[in-house]
Amino acid sequence: MKALLSLRFAYRHFRSSFSAMALSMIAVALGVALVVAVRLMNAAVLQGFLDTADATAGRAALVIAGDEGTSFSDQIATQVSAVPGVRLAVPLVRGVAFPDDNSGELLTVHGIDLANDDAVRVYHVRRGTDALVDDLIEFLNQPDSIVLGRQFAESRGLTIGNTLKLVTPIGVKPFTVRGLLDPQGTARVLNGRLIVMDVAAAQPIFGASGQVNQIDVVTDPGEDIEGVREAIVHILPSGIRVEQPAVRKQVFRRALAAFQTMLSAFSLLAMMAGFVVCYGRLQGIFETRTWEIGLLRAVGLRRARVFTELLKEALLLGMGGIAVGIPLGIAIARWSLPVLAQTTALNFSLPIPAIAEPPIGDAPLFGAMVGIAAALAAALAPAARLARRSPVAALSMLGRETPGAAPISRVSVLAFAAVLLALIAAQTLLRLPALGLATTAMMVIGAAALSGPMIRGLIGWFQGSFGRLSPTARLVVAHLKRTPRGTALTVTTLGIGLGTVIMIGTLGWSFERSIVTMLTERYAASLVVTSAFVRGGYESAPVSERLVRELAEVPGVAAVAGEQHRRISYQGASVVLAAFDSSCFRGSTVCAWRLTRPIDGALDLVADGKAVVVSPSFALQFGAKERDHVRLSSSSGDVDLIIAAITPGQPESAIILARDVYVRLWDDPLITWAHVATTKEADPNVVADRIRRGLAGKYRLRVLSSAEMIQYFAAQVREAFSLQHLLEIVTLFLVVVGVGDTLAAAVATRRRQFGMMRAIGLHRTRLFRMVMLEGMAIGLLGVLLAVGLGVALSTFWVQVQFPALLGWTLEQYVPLVFVVAAGTVTVALCLVGALIPSIRAASLSPVVVLRGE
């Protein structure tokens, strides 16, 4: 038993072939690093958002709220207070503001009843009986009074009594600091970027009089929370929900799960590339020791023992890989976390959470398991093949290559293809994240299995079509054709690696182009006016709808349409509500809509508030079509609207309607964008300047041309996909490692052949050229496989997986320039990887090599 568990024998071999195994260890390490980094980042980002949810909820047992950003009457708080079991019903106004110093720093505003100490303590834990403000009377008498997070105040050199100018939805306003919040509770989570003010003072600025965004409920001790919740439900108007904070956290988890699944899939694809590198190398290493295995068997070792010892070597390789990969993954996570937090916020229009050091959690253990599993899996087939070989046959293999496995039969290929098609069809219908990942993995495995036949077919075609190859090229082609196993593994590594890069690049490009196309087609107005500050993701801070009226009075302005976006809950799913002023639907001076199969007078109906337009994602998600009805519910009532048309181009699940209807239902007087069409005679640049001079100062606005707005959104998308660059770098590094490793092994196993060729009279330069040509051929074959795999994967993800995971419908755009560039870089990297083996081959001394004769 002791001998069975001992690693001593395996360690000796591992040590002696360390240089051969080193590159495989790097491949495993890179794969593990990505897996660990993504897992760490996903956990940290999720925890960040959950902490935000926790801090927002404070000590509340139940939270009453409408859809994101919507408000309702504060009288509901009074009604809720009367429900048995409710100890406290605390109305809360939430908003955002920015310091008027162009820093763009977002401050969260809480408007609460400061006179009610119990209400204050729901959110803001304080030591002992310390008051939040020294003089409450003065505080309440001055509507400009605020309490500021201590951390933020200290960073700005502010103290009690100082004035702070803030950009609010109704313009720039000065506020007086009358209290400081210690970094606890909500203030801690938001790193001090928190303002607390009286609810009555907050309502006219950040909402509307008599309206609140949230009511937090504290129940009596020992009360059945679920019972109280059900009692509250009965008195609430439609469109307002009551739930436990934990449920809200579940909403976050579900919303993020799909996005994080996508990231995990990308990291696992990189791990698969590492696995293939490992498999190829271990196979080569084990093969060179076939005779030694024959010796061990002849001496008396059992097959199972031989198999186990070979697996132990792979285990050591895996352990080496994870020893490097795990710390590397932690470092990558620390470095990339801000980017991922921003990307996630961008995708879900959330404020970027304050995330400190990522908690380590189970990521290292998961990474270790994946790394060890990959190394062991890579060794299984070669070790089993070797252990099965008869000792006599093995002993005769000294210096000779072992025959490969039987080629895959046509029946197997057809069966595999049938299974794959069935999976794709199933995923189209079922939309399960796990099924999509399995399908993706099967596509990659299929590409790997087909690489050998593809190489043979292509080389055969090449030989037939280009008979007059140079002698060097003929030798290279003959070698590649007759050693398909080694070539196929490297080509597979290349194919999977570069294919993943092409897939991610295509997804990012498709998203960017879809957005740009939609914006370009939809917005006909010459100018777009928005806040200079960003509320969350790519959403600008809200501005009062008064801006629309003021813009209309600017000379040279022909028409103005305000736009507001909100996420609402519709039939249990989250959809975007995009509300436009009616001028956007009448005529085409402000907006121009591309509609499929519109009903008669579709846009007029929408402008009149009788109909809506929906996105293809919405139609797909809810099985909706023209003439179906949409029922929108809010605290102000319900409305039934007909679907007038579907408008392509909008990736998310969206309902587009007139802003009059939106304001009526949700009482939201704010807009995010104002689209300004100028008169024919007016110069848009001149009008833009007038707006900047007249209004930008009051509201802190940006005035963009349509092209600038489109570029802004395109840049946001690029930033959202910026993590792909990390995956690209790691993958391309794996490519160089894989190719260099394969060619180095090929040169090593063909030393005698090269020595003989030199002895017979081949120039060094010809040998050099031969190996370089081999590297280039492998690169070209790999690029071919990668393009096929990349296009197939991206088509699957754009058409099936993205709609399933994220509810997005995109139009597929293949970034040809990117694909060509990536292919060229890959071939160039293959040449780089081939350089040292080529030099080694050319430098071989025939005397030294042949002395082994």
């Binding site: 002698p471 007759r482 009279g761 060094r764 042949l850």
Partner: protein, 243 residues
């Protein structure tokens, strides 16, 4: 006047430095006449293979001169030595050293292609060489699909395809059974006699040595004996008699 094709004068070669230095050749003087069949015999480590490598220009002697068909090898650059080997020398190795990825025909043709011969010429020479080497109907097979004896014949065909004036053979029968080995020796002798190809062959086998005109005994890096074989072609007859 004799036509000396190989001339070595005062050739010394050692490996390593200082106390670790091993003397492989210790002052070799040798002349081989065109068309001779010379066998080199000696125990392991005596310097036979080193001598062969020096003759081929694969190894550079520390001192002394090597003149091959009138060309002093010390005046040639590395690529010129390679060209010389391609055009004037043929190599036969103990382990055949055929390229596994190439067919029999391709294994014979590639040196011709690299020497720049036209395709028609290449095809003709390949066909003739294989026929001369006694390999018929195996052109499309791969080395792994033919016997050891056939592989060595193919290796000989490769060596003679370029029309070399000197054939260097390092233990050509070392990996073959005695009957097959004898056939290979018959082939080499046939080439020597019919084509006037100068053959220098390293061998451990006394019987093989009798196929040549001369046998040089090498020991400790020196030629200690140079014996002429009185009855050329005795080898085959002697072998038949012994059987």
């Amino acid at each position: 006047m004799t036509d000396t094709i190989i001339r070595l004068r005062g050739v010394r070669k050692s490996y390593g430095t200082g106390e670790q230095a091993a003397i492989a050749l210790n002052g070799i003087d040798l002349e081989v006449v065109r068309g001779e069949f010379v066998s080199l015999m000696g125990p392991s480590g005596s310097g036979k293979t080193t001598l062969l490598n020096v003759i081929a220009g694969l190894d550079v002697p520390d001192t002394g001169s090597v003149v091959l068909d009138g060309v002093d090898l010390s005046t040639l650059a590395d690529h010129q030595l390679a060209d010389l080997r391609l055009q004037k020398l043929g190599f036969v190795f103990q382990s055949f050293n055929l390229i596994p990825a190439l067919t029999v025909e391709e294994n014979v043709s590639w040196p011709l292609e690299f020497a720049g011969h036209p395709r028609a010429e290449v095809r003709r020479r390949v066909s003739e060489s294989l026929e001369r080497a006694g390999v018929v109907g195996r052109g499309a097979r791969y080395p792994g699909e033919i016997s050891g004896g056939e592989q060595q014949r193919v290796a000989i065909a490769r060596a003679i395809a370029t029309g070399p004036s000197i054939l260097l053979a390092d233990e050509p029968t070392g990996n073959l059974d005695s009957l097959t080995g004898q056939k290979i020796l018959d082939l080499l002798q046939g080439l020597n006699q019919s084509q006037r190809v100068t053959v220098v062959m390293v061998t451990h086998n006394v019987l093989a040595a009798t196929y040549g005109d001369r046998t040089l005994e090498v020991q400790d890096g020196r030629i200690i004996r140079d014996v002429r074989t009185p009855d050329r072609g005795r080898g085959a007859k002697a072998a038949a008699e012994e059987r």
